[in-house]
Structure formats: C-alpha cells, structure tokens
C-alpha cells in the first residue's frame, strides 16, 4: 500500500488527480438529483479527461508546441496531439452543456423544480392519469 502510494505521488500525481476528478464528476452525473449539479458533474468529468490528456502530452523541460526561432527538433517541444484533442473535446463539452442547460430551462418552466426524481414522479403521475 505504501509502495503504491509512493509510486502514485512520485510519478503519477497528475493522472491520479484527474482520475479522482473523473470519479467525482461521474458520481455527480449519475447520482445527484439536481439537474444543474448533474451538468456541473459532466463538466468536471470532461475537464478531468482534459487534465489527463494534457498531462500525458507534457515532457519535462520542453517548450510549448509553437515553433520558436526556427527549431524543428521534436525533442525540443512537448507533444502537440493531446492539446489538439483537448481543443476538440472542449467544443464538444460546451455544446453538450448548452443542450442540457436548455433542457433544464424547459423542464423548470414546466415542473418548477430542478430535482430530476421529482420531475420524473410528476411525469409518471401525468402519464397514469
């Protein structure tokens, strides 16, 4: 156990942090009844993935991947691929959050609550009556 924690802290602290964040976001998205908190959970989850990706792209002592004074040696720059993936991922998560927020607005208009369980209960009532 001590060994495990030691390797974790010494070599993998960023990844461990992103995994914990991912778990927090996942649990919020799955378990929290409040719609706004669900959306926050989604964003935390996505951000955790971005943190993981950027951490994997980083190499100690290297520059950001923008050409500086004509150097084109791959050993001088960090890995550009994860950065690109994060850029794409951010757009996806912005779009998805916008849709979820607008769904929330409409649901609040109709049921006057943000609690998904209450909304579903109300909805079952409407359906059965």
């Amino acid at each position: 156990m001590i060994d495990f924690l030691q390797t974790l802290i010494e070599y993998h602290i960023e990844e461990a942090a992103s995994m914990i964040l991912f778990g927090i976001g996942f649990s919020l998205l799955l378990l929290n009844r409040n719609l706004i908190k669900k959306i926050m959970g989604l964003n935390i989850m996505d951000t955790a993935v971005y943190l993981f990706l950027t951490a994997k792209g980083y190499v100690y002592g290297r520059m950001v991947p923008i050409m500086n004074s004509g150097i084109t040696d791959p050993n001088a720059y960090t890995n550009p691929i994860p950065d690109g993936l994060v850029l794409t991922g951010i757009v996806v998560s912005v779009s998805v959050s916008a849709i979820l927020l607008s769904l929330t607005i409409r649901l609040y208009d109709r049921y006057h609550t943000l609690d998904l369980d209450k909304i579903i209960t109300e909805w079952r009532k409407e359906e059965d009556n």
Binding site: T7, M67, P80
Partner: protein, 321 residues
C-alpha cells in the same frame, strides 16, 4: 347456471381470455421492478377513464416498493462509482510515467507534426497545423457538433412569431417583461462597455487571425468576440444590438461560414485522397497571410463560434434574437 359461471370466471381459461383482452395482467403483482404499478394495477384498467391515482403511490415514504427500488438503485450506483474510482486509481500506477521523453505517446507521429509541420501545413503553431490539416476531419466533425447543438437549443427555446400555443404565449410574455427589466440606463455599465467592447472585438479578431502563428485560433477568438457581443447587449439592450446583429445576420454568417468550411475541406480531402495537386499556396511561414486553408478555416470557425455564443445567450434569455 350461476355456479357454472363462477367456476368459469375463476378458471385459467377465463383469466387467459381476460388477459388477452388486456383487462388482467398476471405479471403485475409478481414484479417489483415496474415501480408504480405494484398496488395500482386495479386502477389502470383504462388509463383514459380519468381515474385519479392517489399521490401516495408516488410518495417515497408511503410506497414501500418505490422506496426499496430507489434505495437499491442508489446503493448500487454508489458501489459502482466507488469501484470505478478505485480501479482507475489502481490502474494509474501501471501507466507510463509522467513527463518522460520515452513514453509511447512521444513517437513518430508527434515527431512528424513538429519536424515537418511548418513545411507541410505552413502553420507555425504545431497544434493548429495538426487539428486543421493533419486531422482536419475530426475538427470538421467538431464544428458540426457545435452546429447541431445550436439546432437543438433552437428547437427547445426559439419562439416563433406565428406560433400561438399557450405555452409559447406565456414564454413570449415573459420575454417581453425581460425587455422591460433590461438595465437600459446603467451609466457605469455603459461607459465601461463602450471602452471594453471595441477592444474585445479587436482582441478576438487578433486571436483568430493569428491562430496559425500563436496560441489561439477560431474557437477561442470566436468565444472572445461572442463575449463582446453579449456585453454590448447587456449594457445597451436589444434595440441597439439589433441595428447590426439580428437573427438574419446569425443565419447568414453561420451558413456561409459552415458551407465555406465544408467545401474547402471537401476540396482538400478530395485532392489529398486522389493524390492531386491542391494549388493552394502555403505562403511564408510566420506571415499572417500564410498556411493555405488554415487561415480561412480559422475565420470560418471564429465567426460560427461568435454567432453561436451570442445565440446561446439570447435563446436562453428570451427565446428570440
């Protein structure tokens, strides 16, 4: 006679016939999973008969089956989440170490993006070169995600002029009152935004135009411009903003930008796949007018994103432009 009838009514055949007619459901008592039906099966012979099912059926405290299934669901979900976090954490120790140059991710792929990126794409910013040239299909997909998200938000929140259903009528009323509540004459806000908005626009345009030279690009620049538009709207109201930005502007700008993007990328994919010359000059790396299609694509993405951000704000606020 009646005795025979009674016997028939209790027999399996009669129950089968009743079930065939849909009056009787043999499974409804045995299954706890169909949550609300445990003690309500009698009320549901005809859902359209206008029967009011008592609220107690839906109350977690009185309906035991509901309470139990909800409880089981929550416990299982908590266990699932905990198991997932611990497995992921345990797995992390077996991954390649952080920040080492010999990790599998630092292979020939990223090496080529850096070594030949400037020569092949003309973009000094390797990330831009990668997302808008090497992996441009992904990025086109990403713009489509944004486009379709706008479509979905419009479906949900847009209020059309000729639509007179009660729900939209109420929402239109609300949006009218929203206009009245606008901070029309907030001097501080107006003075600050008069100073800030031009700089925001210029800064956004700068980010878009320098996307291939420095950190930035279409999405970030577009977001800055969108923020400028929203600030202007907040301080001067819809009337002022509509002088230069209406739903028509939004439609035209995003349509033209997306179609340009689609056609430009199709051309580049087509020439690439068929090994044809693309005839698009790459220019001198480092200049504003360089890197071929990347600049055009950045401008397209930037204008789409700026419009989309503004559209999200107005749609959320009042369902109209």
């Amino acid at each position: 006679m009646s005795r025979i009838r009674d016997n028939y009514e209790n027999s399996r055949a009669a129950k089968f016939e009743a079930w065939l007619r849909g009056d009787y459901d043999p499974m409804s008592e045995g299954m706890e999973i169909s949550v609300p039906k445990t003690d309500g099966s009698d009320d549901e012979i005809d859902p359209r008969a206008g029967l009011v099912i008592s609220d107690a059926l839906y109350d977690r405290h009185t309906n035991k089956a509901l309470k139990r299934s909800g409880y089981v669901y929550r416990v299982l979900s908590v266990v699932l989440c905990l198991v997932m976090i611990s497995v992921l954490l345990w797995m992390v120790q077996f991954l390649p170490k952080f920040g080492q140059p010999d990790n599998p991710a630092n292979n020939e792929v990223s090496a080529r993006y850096i070594e030949k990126g400037v020569e092949e794409t003309g973009a000094v910013n390797f990330v831009t070169g990668m997302i808008l040239d090497y992996r441009a299909f992904d990025t086109f997909g990403e713009s489509c995600v944004l486009f379709i998200a706008t479509i979905c938000v419009q479906i949900l929140l847009r209020i059309d002029k000729d639509d007179m259903t009660p729900a939209t009528f109420r929402r239109r009323k609300e949006s009218e009152t929203d206009r009245l509540l606008e901070p029309k004459n907030d001097i501080i806000l107006q003075r600050v935004s008069v100073v800030l908005v031009p700089f925001l626009f210029i800064f956004g345009i700068y980010i878009i135009l320098n996307g291939h030279l420095s950190p930035g690009g279409g999405f970030s620049g577009g977001a800055v411009i969108g923020a400028g538009l929203i600030l202007y709207l907040c301080s001067f109201g819809y009337k002022q903003t509509e002088r230069f930005f209406t739903i028509r502007t939004f439609r035209i700008v995003s349509l033209v930008a997306l179609i340009t993007y689609c056609l430009a990328k199709s051309y580049s994919f087509y020439t690439g796949a068929n090994h044809l010359e693309s005839h698009i000059p790459l220019g001198t790396p480092g200049n504003i007018l360089s890197s071929g299609l990347i600049l055009v694509l950045n401008i397209c993405v930037g204008s789409v994103v700026a419009c989309t951000m503004y559209a999200f704000y107005t749609l959320f606020r009042k369902g109209d432009f």
